[in-house]
């Protein structure tokens, strides 16, 4: 039985590349080594969950099986007849597929946006305000003696983060790993990650910016302006926190959606970047966003080099226009502005606000996905697709913007997202030519 070493796990932004997979003669994965519980269930789920078996089109209210050609023709017609299409998702897929999706959006004058719209999008806005002082994960592994998890819970969301890259990993300057590192968790509730920390700071919900600002004031030598309590944290504790940060030799702030999607949104990320810059007057400090979908970072990268912008790109005028708040996926849905949608490798049906979903239900919707999900209930054309990282190869970007090539582990009858996007481009051109 073939044993594939150093396979890449296409589940979360950790993109662990040390997975060993055994494949049997029947093209089934029989053994998965090194993966976490989430990764394991992704590999295993291939054989446990029902797949969408064939392309489908909604006829008389029901999705019925059709040929690939018919689905392609119908989807292309939707795109050609639409005045304003939203292309959304493209984060649990390869960079090669994203590239084709962008080309399709460009050729059809669509808007294209990623899941960052409801996730780390504010981090991008923060970087546009203050930059993004980061490092690769190996820098943390090899140097960091203070690791701060802020508004994130890797024990559940990125289970191997702690052992591979951060708290429990051993590195060149930190040969004893956890024993030589301090771990600090800032959150609104005592998460399972917080339970592992040396220090847990519980803050009031939505008060992150206050805390960041107070810490910056202390680090910049203005502790006299700090009131007795900020964000539910006593001044004494704040002083202690600032001291911990200044005295570290190398610290990293890992931040999650608790920072990006709580009150003050992008201003929080802006604050963290400013805090990192200030801390570098005293020590070495960096920040890294805890990206969720395994290639949401890749969407940002590819979109940025191909269009100049990381998300919320509107091709209506033929060139890319970017104005998140106006051109984000939820913005245009809530305004009922788009008249068709193509959604791949994401599930807005489960994650978008009701008002946005009401619009998605009204308009023709093309879905590209290996599995049925709540979005399928709204879809009018459905393309089943290969699972990238298991049934298809391609590039993905880890949360620290390192590109890794995902392997194809087993054979598949399904087309890849990239192939479908390419075929759609061709079909749309054909229809436009008449």
């Amino acid at each position: 039985m073939p044993v594939i070493k150093n396979a890449v796990c296409s589940l979360c932004g950790c993109l662990c590349d040390d997975i060993t997979v055994t494949v049997d003669e029947e093209n089934k994965i029989t053994k998965i080594e090194n993966a976490c519980i989430l990764g394991h269930s992704k590999f295993q789920g291939m054989f446990e969950h029902e797949r969408i078996e064939t392309p489908m089109i909604r006829k008389a209210g029901k999705l019925v099986s059709v040929s690939y050609e018919e689905a392609l023709e119908t989807a292309a017609k939707i795109l050609v007849n639409s005045k304003r299409t939203l292309s959304y998702g493209w984060c649990s897929t390869s960079c090669e597929a994203i590239s084709k999706a962008i080309q399709l959006a460009e050729e059809t004058g669509s808007l294209i946006d990623s899941t960052a719209n409801v996730c780390h999008g504010p981090s991008a806005l923060a970087a546009q305000e203050k930059g993004s002082p980061g490092a690769t994960l190996g820098e943390i592994k090899n140097r960091a003696d203070l690791i701060i998890f802020w508004g994130c819970n890797p024990v559940h969301a990125h289970p191997r983060h702690l052992s591979r890259y951060s708290s429990f990993s051993k590195g060149f300057f930190v040969p004893r790993g956890r024993k030589e590192r301090k771990m600090l968790v800032i959150d609104v509730r005592k998460t399972d990650t917080a339970k592992l920390a040396d220090k847990y700071v519980e803050i009031e919900q939505g008060a992150d910016l206050l805390l960041i600002t107070a810490l910056r004031s202390i680090i910049n030598g203005h502790e006299e302006v700090i009131p007795e309590k900020v964000a539910g944290v006593s001044k004494e504790e704040l002083l202690e926190l600032a001291k911990l940060m200044k005295e570290a030799k190398f610290l990293c702030v890992f931040f999650g959606m608790g920072v990006t999607q709580s009150r003050s949104k992008y201003k929080n990320g802006d604050g963290v970047a400013s805090l990192i810059s200030d801390l570098n007057q005293h020590t070495k400090a960096v920040m890294i966003g805890m990206r969720g979908h395994y290639n949401v970072t890749g969407f940002g990268q590819v979109a940025t080099w191909e269009t100049g912008f990381p998300m919320a790109i509107d091709f209506a005028k033929g060139y890319p226009y970017y104005n998140p708040g106006e051109t984000g996926a939820n913005d245009v849905l809530v305004r009922e502005e788009v008249d068709a949608a193509i959604i791949a490798a994401a599930d807005p049906g489960a994650h978008f606000p009701q008002k946005a979903l009401r619009q998605l239900a009204k308009i023709p919707l093309i879905q590209i996905d290996p599995y049925a999900n709540p979005t399928t209930e709204l879809a009018d054309v459905v393309f089943p697709t290969a699972v990238v990282g298991i049934e298809a190869e391609g590039s993905a970007y880890r949360m620290d913007a390192i590109s890794i090539r995902m392997k194809k582990l087993i054979e598949t009858k399904f087309k890849t997202d990239e192939e479908i996007a390419k075929d759609l481009i061709e079909k749309v051109r054909e229809l436009k030519r008449g």
Binding site: T136, G138, P320
Partner: protein, 572 residues
């Protein structure tokens, strides 16, 4: 078989000593040939200036530039150089374009081609993120590409130097080039990238790198030796220590002198010093800051072992991006600008900071002068490469403007007449009346690159060379560039024709076709015995310290759609 006959070209090819002479050029299957059949497509150049395709030997066009784009969405809408910047809708032949300093990948290809350029060298590629650089290369149309692999703060490199293992060092360099599909060795602020891992820097050539017991001087000299041991086509490509500091010209001279004793393995320099404008500062602080160009150019004039590039400044917005992490942090604090940083495990640092150069700032005015002083005070154009260190000194779309600075003393005067007395007192540019000829310009923009990078098929129009050709909208004998600099600028802003491998890609400033260019990379052969000994050390690095496995680190063939593998054999 495709054939083209270009008639009545006013050819300027420094390699052949041809200086604006009327002649015909024959093209067959992408190469310059002796003659073509009567079936050849005929293009009448009408006596217009005809050069080999331009070759930008130091540009930041793939990889780190994406951080620049990401943090500066405002740049996408900037249009200070109409026709070569700003947003452009897609057409049947072109993808949509945006940007000025950090254009999208498609715009980079189209705009370089419009300027008559056909080859670029990305100046800084950390091996761990090399895949990313190649992913962007794939989306840059038309141009041939190569990338330089960053090795100046690399742990394996520093350890082999510390442990006096020159053979293993060379073997590692060969492996790193193969892993990253790189073309040559780039050294940025040697040792400084590692020091920046702790928020520190190195202060000069003899300041030891923290924890590694080697000095920047040792890194430079040993990588220089490894470069020659491997018979690499290019020399080491060095961004000196202390970049951007007043008084740094002394470090630059020391660095240059270090390489006097390195014997090049090929007919080329043993050292290329890059964007020297940023490293030719005299004075002791920003108060008494002044040009160090006379001292640096005096040395270069008598030296035979080196080449350099200008790193010319352009007034207006720029985006600085470099592996010199501490410099970028210092820039951001000094200018109160946003700051991005990306330290790369075991390898190097990097940072990106946007800024704007103003003629009203005396420091910026003197910086502007220094780039030109260097190019004009160094007598032999075969030592000078034309760059703006795009987009650090300014975007490459300003090259036509820089051409006029070099060809017209009058144009320079128009610019510096607006400077303050303070600035004028700190520069020597007003005393320089040299104006470059088209031939000298051709050396600096394409010919020297062919020699420096060991690419004999580039930068010339001899029989057998690549048919990369730029025909500019000007007739050399009918123009006085010294006076008619505006016409020169216009002509250099959009070619009449650009050919890439014999294919017409630009016609009258418009993109006609966008074929995929080639990617050059170097595969240096190392004896099995040395390689396997080195691999053992490397295995350990991957097992214990890298966060990516060794097999997933190597850039796969899929990322080089049109590769050209250059093989060399090391001397072991």
């Amino acid at each position: 078989m495709s054939e083209i006959l270009i008639k009545n070209a006013s050819v300027c090819d420094p390699f052949q000593g041809i200086d604006c002479e009327k002649m015909d050029l024959c093209i067959r299957n992408g190469k310059i040939v002796e003659s073509v059949s009567s079936k050849a497509k005929v293009i009448d150049a009408k006596g217009r200036l005809t050069l080999a395709g331009g070759f930008d030997g130091h540009t930041h066009s793939a990889g780190k530039i994406n951080v620049g784009r990401f943090m500066n969405p405002n740049d996408a809408r900037r249009n200070p150089v109409p026709g070569l910047s700003g947003k452009v809708a897609r057409t049947e032949k072109t993808r949509a374009q945006v940007g000025y300093n950090t254009p999208n990948t498609y715009a980079i290809g189209y705009r370089y081609a419009k300027l008559g350029y056909t080859t670029i060298c990305e100046a800084a590629m950390p091996p761990l993120s090399a895949r990313h650089t190649h992913e962007e290369f794939k989306e840059i149309p038309i141009l041939d590409k190569m990338g330089l692999t960053l090795l100046g703060s690399n742990w394996q490199v520093m350890e082999y130097i510390r442990d006096k293992e020159p053979e293993k060092l060379a073997a590692y360099v060969a492996w790193a080039l193969k892993a990253s599909r790189g073309y040559g060795i780039k050294i940025v602020n040697p040792g400084g990238g590692e020091a920046w891992g702790w928020g520190r820097n190195v202060s000069g050539l003899y300041d030891p790198v923290p924890n590694f017991e080697v000095t920047p001087a040792e890194i430079l000299i040993e990588l220089g030796k490894a470069n020659e041991k491997l018979n690499l086509p290019h020399s080491v490509h060095v961004h000196c220590n202390n970049l951007g500091h007043p008084g740094n010209y002394e470090t630059t001279l020391e660095t240059m002198k270090l390489f006097e004793k390195i014997k090049p393995s090929q007919e080329r320099q043993s050292l290329h010093v890059t964007h020297v404008q940023f490293n030719a500062y005299a004075g002791t602080s920003w108060r008494d800051f002044e040009t160090g160009a006379p001292m640096v150019s005096d040395y270069i004039n008598q030296a035979k072992h080196l080449t350099f590039d200008m790193g010319q400044l352009i007034f207006g917005p720029a985006v600085t991006m470099t592996a010199d992490g501490p410099v970028e942090y210092a820039n951001s604090r000094m200018l109160h600008e946003k700051w991005s940083n990306q330290d790369v495990e075991l390898e190097d640092a990097s940072g990106v900071v946007p800024l704007s150069y103003s003629p009203k700032s005396f420091v910026n005015a003197v910086q502007w002068a220094i780039g030109l002083e260097l190019a004009l005070l160094v007598k032999d154009p075969w030592k000078v490469m034309f760059t703006t260190d795009s987009p650090n000194g300014g975007s490459f779309v300003n090259y036509p403007e820089v051409v006029t600075y070099l060809m017209s003393a009058k144009k320079r005067e128009e610019v510096y007449s607006g400077f303050s007395e303070l600035a004028l007192g700190k520069m020597v540019l007003p005393e320089i009346d040299r104006e470059l000829s088209f031939s000298e310009l051709a050396v600096m923009t394409r010919a020297i690159q062919s020699k420096m990078y060991g690419r004999p098929e580039k930068g010339k129009l001899t029989i057998g060379a690549d048919a990369d050709i730029a025909i500019y909208e000007l007739v050399p004998e009918k123009i006085d560039p010294s006076v008619e600099h505006e016409k020169v600028k216009q002509a250099f802003s959009a070619t009449a024709y650009t050919f890439k491998d014999g294919k017409l890609v630009v016609k009258e400033g418009n993109i006609e076709a966008s074929p995929m260019g080639k990617t050059y990379w170097v595969n240096a052969d190392v004896p099995e015995r040395v390689d396997s000994a080195m691999q053992k050390d490397l295995e350990l690095k991957f097992k214990k310290y890298y966060t990516v496995s060794k097999s997933n680190y190597m850039v796969e063939d899929e990322y080089l759609p049109n590769p050209v593998e250059i093989t060399t054999k090391g001397d072991f």
